[in-house]
Symmetry: C2
Subunit: 307 residues, 2 copies
């Protein structure tokens, strides 16, 4: 049951040095969730051999171009590739208008149902939920309304049966169903095996927090607390705190401070300014405060293992 994120675009507004505007794809239990969709996303999905037909839900943080200009191209290509199943875009109001206007002028009538779900940028709203994941918003601090997203794996309903117990007692489907509900097992000889012996502790649910674009803001801490993986923007190096504040972005040190205070397990840096040709210095700065930091480099996949 994978839980992993692949970085597609890692740069800020201007593409540069082979880096692209923001987008990434999250694989949770083999369902794919696209997060943001900068120009070129469809090409990057091809380049990194992502099975993009599995994307049924797209989450858009805000309406700055470097997070949305690739969406119309992706939607149109799905159409040309004969997609039939529906697609939902979670976004601020306005993106629907942008997409529909372009479809109108190109006289394109999508073959598949396209839904827009509008959220507002408050923290703590559950905007998506299925059997194994829910997505919660977190309000970010940017020049225009902007939200981060926390993807939280859900505990499986029922007990987590040990595979070796199935073999040892040659369990029937019916017996397995009972054990999953918490029942003990009665053997043919009348002996009782306690449910605790047959089941393992459930895997702790995993979580991924996506926070870009944003100025430094401790108000997000309760929402991302103890996340397994935090993607936090680090547009600027540590010397650019004033500029970061002015432009509603963060520095490397600020991203690392957020990671430290939220006690996340790992920090991924991203949304790099075009001014940085190489990124190693940015990583070094973050590691001074939060050692388990990594660069969110394009094409890399970051796994969150089950514990």
């Amino acid at each position: 049951m994978p839980f992993e994120v692949t970085i597609l675009g890692s740069n800020s507004a201007l593409p540069a040095h082979g880096r692209h505007p923001t987008s990434q794809v999250l694989n949770i239990h083999d369902r794919l969730f696209l997060i943001d969709c900068g120009e070129g996303t469809q090409m990057l999905l091809e380049k990194y051999k992502v099975k993009h037909g599995r994307i049924d839900n797209i989450f858009i943080s805000h309406l700055h171009g470097d997070h949305i200009f690739g969406l119309i191209g992706l939607l149109t290509s799905y159409h040309l590739n004969h997609r039939e199943k529906s697609l939902t875009v979670f976004c601020p109001k306005g993106l629907d208008e942008i997409i529909h206007l372009q479809l109108k002028y190109s006289d394109t009538h999508l073959r598949y149902p396209l839904h827009f779900e509008f959220y507002n940028q408050q923290s703590g709203a559950v905007i998506f939920e299925n059997d194994f994941v829910k997505v919660v918003t977190v309000k970010l601090t940017h020049r225009i309304p902007c939200a981060g997203f926390i993807f939280r794996e859900k505990l499986f309903p029922g007990k987590n049966i040990k595979p070796e117990a199935i073999a040892a007692y040659n369990l029937s489907i019916q017996q397995i169903q009972g054990i999953k509900k918490g029942q003990d097992l009665e053997l043919a000889n009348g002996k009782i095996v306690k449910n605790e012996e047959l089941t393992a502790k459930p895997h702790p649910p995993r979580s991924y927090a996506y926070c870009t674009d944003t100025a430094y803001d401790e108000a997000i801490l309760p929402y991302i607390y103890e996340a397994d993986l935090l993607y936090h923007e680090a547009t600027f190096d540590k010397t650019e705190e004033v500029r970061a504040k002015e432009t509603f972005h963060s520095t490397t040190l600020q991203a690392a401070m957020i990671a430290k205070k939220a006690q996340v397990k790992k920090l991924l840096l991203g949304h790099f300014s075009a001014r940085y040709r190489v990124l190693e210095d940015l990583l070094r700065e973050a590691k001074e405060v939060f050692p388990n930091s990594e660069l969110g480099e394009e094409g890399k996949t970051f796994l969150i293992p089950r514990l």
Copy 2:
């Protein structure tokens, strides 16, 4: 005085096999003209080291996405790169609405003047003219209104003075101006040198015809007649004539027939369907009818030499 075209994107609607949606840049006397602007154009301009700050005029053939989805990103990047000089987009009505809506929602106020000049899709309209080039439309046959563009170099006003005459007679600026106006030269000893001896025949003006997207249509022939270089779409191979007609595109043979009938000097094929991984067969087909054909491959620059 260069007159050359660099292919940026050569594919049809779906990007594939490393090929991109349509765009190309024409260098005429070191002024750059962008023609169409599919998704990823700004990255391709960077990749091929085009001096894109010199682009002041953009020509858009029609409003299908594979010809326009990169425009908003390019316009926004000019803004972020502190462009100040004005930019004009020649396009069908509607593109202004598409661009302005996206600027509105991203709260972007361009630093530079952006103008839209709307043309209609009739043939023979001069939609741009400066000292050395004029651009004429040609009506194409596509699913939505679509125009091709003929870029015609203008004859220099005045006579074309021979460089060796300047040295031989040690001509002053004033004398050169007179000779350019057609005057004879009077030497210090009173001897007269005839204007014909001092000037060369003017270079024949060069021309580039851009015709995509379009079904086969001989109505374009008078407008592209004897062009030095014709870019004509060849979305399909020669067996797909029915499909080409249905989708308002052309086959390789049709592109070659147009080139032959228009007696152009050279044909560039482009707008290749994603179904073709390799393109050599398409080229071979066109050459059967029009030997001086080439593939409009991305990153390649095609020079039109002065004769």
